[in-house]
Assembly symmetry: D2
Amino acid sequence: MKIIGINGSPRKANTYTLLKILLQSAEKTYSAKTEIIELRRKKIKPCIGCFKCSDQTEEDYACPSLKGDDMEEIITQLIEADGIIFGSPVYFGGVTAQLKAFMDRTQPLLRYSKNKFKNCLRNKVGGALVVGGNRNGGLEATIQGIHHYCFIQDMVVVGTGPDEQPGCYLGAAGFSGTHPTKGSRVLDAVLSDPLAVYSAEVLGRRVGEMCNIIEAGR
Amino acid sequence: MKIIGINGSPRKANTYTLLKILLQSAEKTYSAKTEIIELRRKKIKPCIGCFKCSDQTEEDYACPSLKGDDMEEIITQLIEADGIIFGSPVYFGGVTAQLKAFMDRTQPLLRYSKNKFKNCLRNKVGGALVVGGNRNGGLEATIQGIHHYCFIQDMVVVGTGPDEQPGCYLGAAGFSGTHPTKGSRVLDAVLSDPLAVYSAEVLGRRVGEMCNIIEAGR
Amino acid sequence: MKIIGINGSPRKANTYTLLKILLQSAEKTYSAKTEIIELRRKKIKPCIGCFKCSDQTEEDYACPSLKGDDMEEIITQLIEADGIIFGSPVYFGGVTAQLKAFMDRTQPLLRYSKNKFKNCLRNKVGGALVVGGNRNGGLEATIQGIHHYCFIQDMVVVGTGPDEQPGCYLGAAGFSGTHPTKGSRVLDAVLSDPLAVYSAEVLGRRVGEMCNIIEAGR
Amino acid sequence: MKIIGINGSPRKANTYTLLKILLQSAEKTYSAKTEIIELRRKKIKPCIGCFKCSDQTEEDYACPSLKGDDMEEIITQLIEADGIIFGSPVYFGGVTAQLKAFMDRTQPLLRYSKNKFKNCLRNKVGGALVVGGNRNGGLEATIQGIHHYCFIQDMVVVGTGPDEQPGCYLGAAGFSGTHPTKGSRVLDAVLSDPLAVYSAEVLGRRVGEMCNIIEAGR
């Protein structure tokens, strides 16, 4: 079982910390192999809406227009995964522009493609991990945005599982604004938020459980 | 395989029509047994927030406070299902009060229970079917509300699958306002909406497919 | 200036407590007259989708089908208001069935009416107040559902204003699960949540401010 | 009265066409001065989450870290506006990465700033315009994401007003997938969608009306 975490944060900070906890939980409980893809270290140009990816039939590149940046490599990695966690700090009630750029560039993986990438995320298990500097500051909305993406890619979407006090039903959700003056500047502030840690652990187990079921059931 | 459709409409009209199409699609493709529960024929008192369902340990009734209405029977039916479709016309951007009353009364099925109903919807496959009288009139928001419910009940949530032109990625979505003067008053108006019919058919297949996978994989 | 708070909770508990704080904040800062309508004390039958309210032209009753319950009286009160706060505990990621029943029954106030109730909530200021027993447990989604309602009624929608640390940008949001064993059973648990109290106070001021602006500007 | 439309599309296509219609509607009815800011012609680096904008007190630049790109100029323009329309094609259930990058870079305009940009979008009127290639394909969710942004910036948010058949209650919403084979590739496909055109016209009038009220009432 392979679970990939995509980190949409421009910093190595709270989203990374929580994503690490989530993946370790899946490793421990389901012997999952895990990997974090740090978008901040990748070059990803935003989609230009040219529709070439939908029209091409034999081209090797997922995106004929912007080939040469890091998307091809990332797509290759994603194809290997059974589960994918999309992690983002909450920026204005949604994912970062960096994560959105990645999402938009997966257009060639959709049902509209005519080549080898078509529907390649189908039936992979999707989960969302978010970190907000304000309470009720867009965490749920950001998770719903990630889920929306997963549904469009025809993934299977799960929340945090049957545990009591999940910290958030929809996914892993951390609060990074715990420090009285430094707020979200503290790089591992989520470690002071027990429900954040707990929700990451339960989502890790929940995604692992569902990867197992789907692998066995297909 | 058993798939239950819950019809939250106060009328036998477009939501029923579309739900029937959806279930027939699952019957045809996956030999699913199906059943529609018509909430408009049931007596369901709204939850009074007494918390007794969470506290009781041996009580036979899911809800000790409101026992005697039709919820006990419906819950018994739901426990048999592999997949559940929640169907509703769009009323003010959300499900009907009737469907919400049903949802609220499933509190005893949550993780917080201490009796036999605890987590009984867990890993059932959930899907959403909605009918709106206005285009972009709350159909997506209503589906997201239904999905939110499913996540809280720890169900597995799927959208409309890999087909092109799904009519709606998130679930089955019909437009009932096609008649120039009668609008949604026309009881089977959704039959004039090819994307409504199509989205119901694909969601029926998608839920059936996922019930199969989960049944085989557990 | 008149601001009405509608309490959709089946209990006199945390939603009431927070709504009271919100309205007192508007009273103090803007000398607003305020009133709480307790839906739990009202008889409101759910909408049956008969469309009679849209078709009637001279009928005195907003709803010709269900006249005799308390909706007529509540509608008369709402017409007097400059601002309306919709308050609800979070039940399964949304408003209570009780509040939804009230919302659904305001269909005769919509743009589709042909009588005196048409568009009668237009340009009133709308705000949302919610109380959740779980962190990130649907508070944002419930507020968005209330806002959706307000937009459909063509109201003017505001969040919590320019203060720092609003507790929630979208509206007043309280956490009632503070007690380690009793959780939301504690009737005034939100008083232990400083951000809940603060967000109610700032939303009270924000709605008052906007009522003033709209009254002066029309 | 000045209303600015921000076009988050990477193409000069349907979003531009609809935005133009919306702004002309405001020009005609309220003699508004209007302007379209084409993000595709601007250089906007994504926010790096450095928090320097919140900490600075006297710096002339809104963003001390990424100064030199086009954000400073756009912010200067926005300060002049009474109303702002955020326009985007629907990419994976949300705004484009390009529009999100713009949004994220307005962090220095928030309540957390200590300098002249603090709260500078407060009480401006916000509206959303979206174009989707699929029906129910994320249009509502994208509008809700834009509204969420507006609330965080403490703007006043309006929907499409009191007209019947608004095409979408929440904002202007167009369908660009009308062509049987070319779909959204057709640059002015929304002109074949009467409800798209209508919803843009009514939102233009609604934003103009509210700008007038707020200008007069402050």
